[in-house]
């Protein structure tokens, strides 16, 4: 049985200690390409989190059914299926957001983060902890993307959560803010260089906070394709 403390540790790992983008440095391609606004970052993060939660759960359910030799194709199959399901559902029921993110949803298949967590965690652990791991890793990814998006959007366009109502529904219109007058933003921040700058600065910030709180900085970056 997994105890509450263990679930708390899983949550902490996913959201902060072992954050997919800021510590493990995985999934950087969507983290940079899709974060020219906080809303896009949030949308991409949520889509990835949905895929991760579903696929870690499924891998864990079937973890004793497939042999070591075919596990990689099975992981790929499960992730690809989940991505396609999310893609179709978004196209059908969240069409406005799909028009913005549509091109990038299929790319979740090649995001290393789900793959890494499946290999490291879900294929060796029971269903509920795996589900929690997928969910919190996805949530940490969403958090990182939204933060990168927010910093870039504020500095680049002077707005925050512009068009959030397209993503979350008209009830969230209040989230759309203009912080700086139109036309004053630094254009570079919403262009690709801004993504590198902001991601780098956030990694630095996170490590400084970790260091100040006296924790040994974990560097267990597991690199694979972006």
């Amino acid at each position: 049985m997994t105890t509450i403390a263990e679930y708390r540790a899983i949550a902490r790992e996913g959201l902060w200690d072992n954050n997919g983008v800021l510590t493990m440095m995985l999934g950087l391609c969507p983290a940079m390409a899709m974060t020219n606004s906080a809303t896009n970052g949030l949308g991409m993060g949520l889509a990835t989190a949905a895929v991760m939660t579903a696929s870690t759960m499924l891998v864990s359910v079937f973890r004793n059914r497939f042999s070591q030799e075919v596990r990689i194709p099975v992981f790929v199959l499960i992730i690809a299926t989940m991505v396609t399901v999310v893609d179709m559902c978004m196209n059908a029921w969240m069409h406005e957001l799909y028009k913005v993110l549509g091109l990038f949803i299929p790319l979740i298949v090649v995001n290393c983060l789900p793959f890494a967590r499946i290999e490291m965690f879900a294929s060796k652990n029971p269903v509920l902890p795996s589900l929690a791991d997928g969910f919190f890793m996805g949530a940490g990814f969403t958090l990182a993307l939204t933060t990168i998006g927010a910093v870039r959007e504020i500095t680049g366009s002077g707005t925050l959560f512009a068009d959030a109502s397209l993503l979350l529904g008209p009830a969230f219109k209040f989230m759309e803010m203009r912080l700086l007058p139109a036309g004053t933003g630094i254009l570079m921040m919403i262009l690709p260089p801004g993504a590198f700058l902001v991601t780098g600065l956030l990694v630095v910030c996170k490590r400084m906070i970790d260091e100040r709180s006296g924790k040994a900085v974990q560097i267990n970056a597991a690199h694979c394709a972006p």
Partner: protein, 219 residues
Amino acid sequence: MSSQRTLIHGMILGAFCLGFGMLLVMTNSFTKDDIALRAVEDRQNSLRQVIPDSIHDNNLATDTLTMKNDQGKEVIVYLATREGKVTGVAFETSRSGYSGEIKVMMGVDPQGKILGARVLSHKETPGLGDKIEVKKSDWMLRFTGLSLGNPPPDKWKVKKDGGQFDQFAGATITPRAVVRAIREGLEFFDANKANILEFKSTQTMGASTGKAQIKEAVK
């Protein structure tokens, strides 16, 4: 022994493929209708922006005919009719901008006057080239009411090239491409005007009465 193991692995993998394939089939059958509906809505929305609702009583998105433009590319022409008369047509025109294709949907009345033009999709630089979106600037609205003779052909350019259309600070290629796309759209309509109006008449009404009505509409 090893070939037997390979067989087992193959079967396991095959079983997973089958299972997840079925999951995809199910999702597809649940979402198929909604996805098709969204595509039609998208088209109707973009058509509504270039053809005013008040001038037609038909369904624009379904009354279409396919023409070929002078580069041999197929163009879908959406017809707006009111009481059987063609009151406007809409079609897509495109041109390469600063980065990638800029797709413009434009509506034209039977006399060749622009009813409206909107950019459907583009990949121009945010903050510089994206002023072609109506959301960001009213630049696109200035095309409404213009035609091939107004302004004269040598003025269908951006100011930098000696024409009458404003370019944006820091972005000339983008508006140049849009102006050119729209001019080409008008030329396409002009070249195929008779065909477009004729085709409609033979398609949906008696040939003789139809033509008479179309002529009236053209006047």
